[in-house]
């Protein structure tokens, strides 16, 4: 069967999965947790084979770290599944109930999106998390994980799919693609796939977006800013900047550009430069920054660069409004933070900066589904449509309008024989 034919079968399974009860989907999740425990030796064994191959191939250390699936990661994903089971069923929730007229009642009820294609990096734990989020939200899923994890992904998928089938979820409610070449086939399946979620590098997400007619939810860039206001507490500013830059340097929510109010620059910048030096961070500054400390000269290009590295560019601004303007022009609408003790300035900044996350006095690294208390996330969206910021269960839902009548026709209202009365029900 071609990928298109297989995706077609998943599409046909999707209303069946959407029609299951929350109880059944929770039972399926518990069955998955049990099956993973029961199968753990074989899973670890497959992962060891992937790790050995990756080491032979000279794969970089951070990638190896993500590829590894051990007791600790198994415990984390199983805890995650139990957290999801504890959450209320996100489906069939009534979000609007309105009597339009006597005997004519409208409901808006949550429902799954349908079939979601997720293309993700070589992280076996991500496969489990994504599958669990999709099962909980009643979405069929087509998975394609990074090829370094081929053996791990195969046994994890087989274990999960067998468990959900055994628990009573419909045939073909999940599909795994194994070859990288199948991604391009998946991109053409617009009649079967409702949403694609690519994870990985900016270039990869852009490639997916420009090669498919399927809606794509994927963040493109994370050019995050910290603005240190004239009313900042420097004792908070420096640890926040260090955390946002160095706590995990290759994440999308790290800070790339620092904006400093002119009135606090003389005090802040020399202390900060020293602290950054100790953490091996290269400071790139404009002329005004260079006048205060010894640093690498910044160019205009730095304003628009996501380093994902131990590099921070810095710039002095005249006012909070100049900082806001800079962020709205050069940022990627991901997460931006202001350090200030002035509540009014903070609220102004947070209202005017057009980003998914706007923070006061904390690190941009908090932009994460787990840290927001969403249990897990399928990704972080910098789009303003559908879902924005960390995307958990809620971002995987759509809704439908249900209208119950008793022979009602529109012509009665068009001709004025009847009138709508619009009463919202409790």
């Amino acid at each position: 069967m071609t990928i298109e034919e297989q995706a077609g079968l998943v599409k046909l399974a999707s209303p069946k999965l959407a029609g299951t009860t929350g109880e059944l989907r929770d039972q399926a999740l518990l069955a998955v947790a049990k099956a993973l425990m029961d199968n753990k030796d074989a899973i670890f064994d497959a992962n060891r084979q992937d790790m050995e191959q990756a080491e032979k191939d000279g794969i970089a250390a951070p990638v190896l770290k993500r590829l590894k699936f051990d007791e600790g990661k198994l415990r984390d994903v199983i805890n995650g599944i139990h957290d999801l089971v504890q959450m209320p069923d996100p489906l069939f929730q009534t979000k609007l109930a309105r009597e339009l007229d006597e005997g004519l009642t409208l409901y808006r009820e949550t429902c799954p999106i349908g079939v979601i294609g997720v293309i993700f990096e070589a992280r076996p734990d991500a496969l489990v998390q994504i599958s669990a989020l999709c099962i909980k939200s009643g979405n069929c899923v087509i998975l394609k994980g990074g090829s370094e994890a081929t053996k791990s992904n195969k046994i994890l998928f087989d274990t999960i799919y067998a468990a959900v089938r055994e628990a009573g979820l419909p045939e073909n409610c999940m599909l795994q693609l194994e070859a990288r070449s199948e991604i391009n086939e998946l991109l053409t399946c617009q009649s079967s796939v409702d949403l694609l979620i690519p994870r990985g590098s900016n270039a990869f997400v852009q490639y997916i977006m420009s090669h498919t007619n399927i809606p794509v939810m994927g963040h493109a860039d994370g050019i995050c800013h910290i603005y240190v206001d004239k009313d900042a507490d420097i004792g908070k500013a420096i640890p926040i900047i260090l955390d946002a830059k160095t706590q995990y340097v290759s994440a999308c929510n790290t800070v790339e550009t620092l904006l400093v109010h002119k009135d606090i620059a003389k005090e802040l910048v020399p202390k900060l430069a020293q602290a950054l030096k100790e953490k091996h961070v290269e400071l790139r500054g404009t002329k005004e920054i260079q006048a205060l400390v010894d640093c690498v000269p910044a160019t205009e290009k730095d304003d628009d660069t996501e380093y994902l590295d131990y590099i921070l560019s810095a710039k002095i601004v005249e006012s909070v409004d100049e900082a806001i303007d800079h962020i709205n022009r050069h940022g990627s609408h991901h997460t931006d933070s202001i350090v200030t003790e002035n509540k009014e300035t903070a609220l102004h900044f947070m209202r005017m900066v057009d980003s998914a996350g706007v923070y006061q006095n904390c690190s941009t690294r908090f932009a994460d589904g787990y840290r927001y208390g969403f249990g897990a996330e399928v990704g972080i969206s910098t789009s303003k449509l559908h879902a924005r910021g960390p995307v958990g269960l809620e971002g995987l839902l759509s809704y439908k309008y249900k209208l119950f009548g008793d022979g009602h026709i529109v012509d009665d209202y068009a001709q004025g024989r009847k009138k709508f009365h619009f009463v919202d029900l409790p």
Copy 2:
């Protein structure tokens, strides 16, 4: 200035408009209503010139009817503006408030999408409605109306823009394009336009979707179904079918295909055929329908056709599940109705049919923002992402996450020195 440069100015106005209070935006709406009344003679005069030109050009009668902007339509749009003013401010609404840890509090707050481009048919009243929805929701708007209404659109836009500027909304918060050629320029403005809403024919919407990288919200097709169940009340079924087919034949929410349960076909179909004949509707039937009444033979192509005309195709099904399967395969996920007195069958149908609207015992023509009590709509979405069904104010919103801390850094949580406690606030 090029369209791209002008759109860039609108983009810069967008955080300013997003930062205005609901009070100010309501005052601007009231100023618009007053200015339209004060200017009505000049507006009617411009519209008369458009009408005369359109008549000379031999424009069809239904188009002329939409083009006309008279006392009645002015009253309707002004009533619509007053309805919007009565509605609560949709912005800055807190949708989630959660203490992540002591002193670290997360809020999800509604905000506008930003800059919305709307391309719409030659209906001057639509220009006013769309502008009013965008002002209320804090969105900047770029308008391009049908060219037959050029003079009407110009004076309406100038009147509205002058009124909102006078009321204190930011410069460049609205822009009107005048030449059709400017649409193609608009399609390339992905750095300034957050969302495009094209209204018009299916072919036009498809053209827009395939010629831009800007997200598009537009319905593509309306292939709506009515399924008459074996437990239907025929006295309700026939008026519902007639209303759904003939009340306004060129709307996207008219019924195109009728599915009839085999056990009720013999009683329903002959009576229905007679009623359709009286309304000059051509019935196209499968062999099983042809065995019951004299009708035009239906082909497979009819299953996938949006007639927007006095034509109805009909088919006999063995069961509600066959009807559901047919609708999910051939429908356009717009609006589908079941006629049945059996509540259980209705709920099963409404859960399993994957459409924006699923109805029991009423006409598909109810799928409309006004009839849902949304005040007005910018369109009807058959997408399952972002907004589905009639799109009113809510569909024009996004949200942002605001996080307030006091020097909080992620490393404390990563190293286990602190723990999240996740308490939802009332």
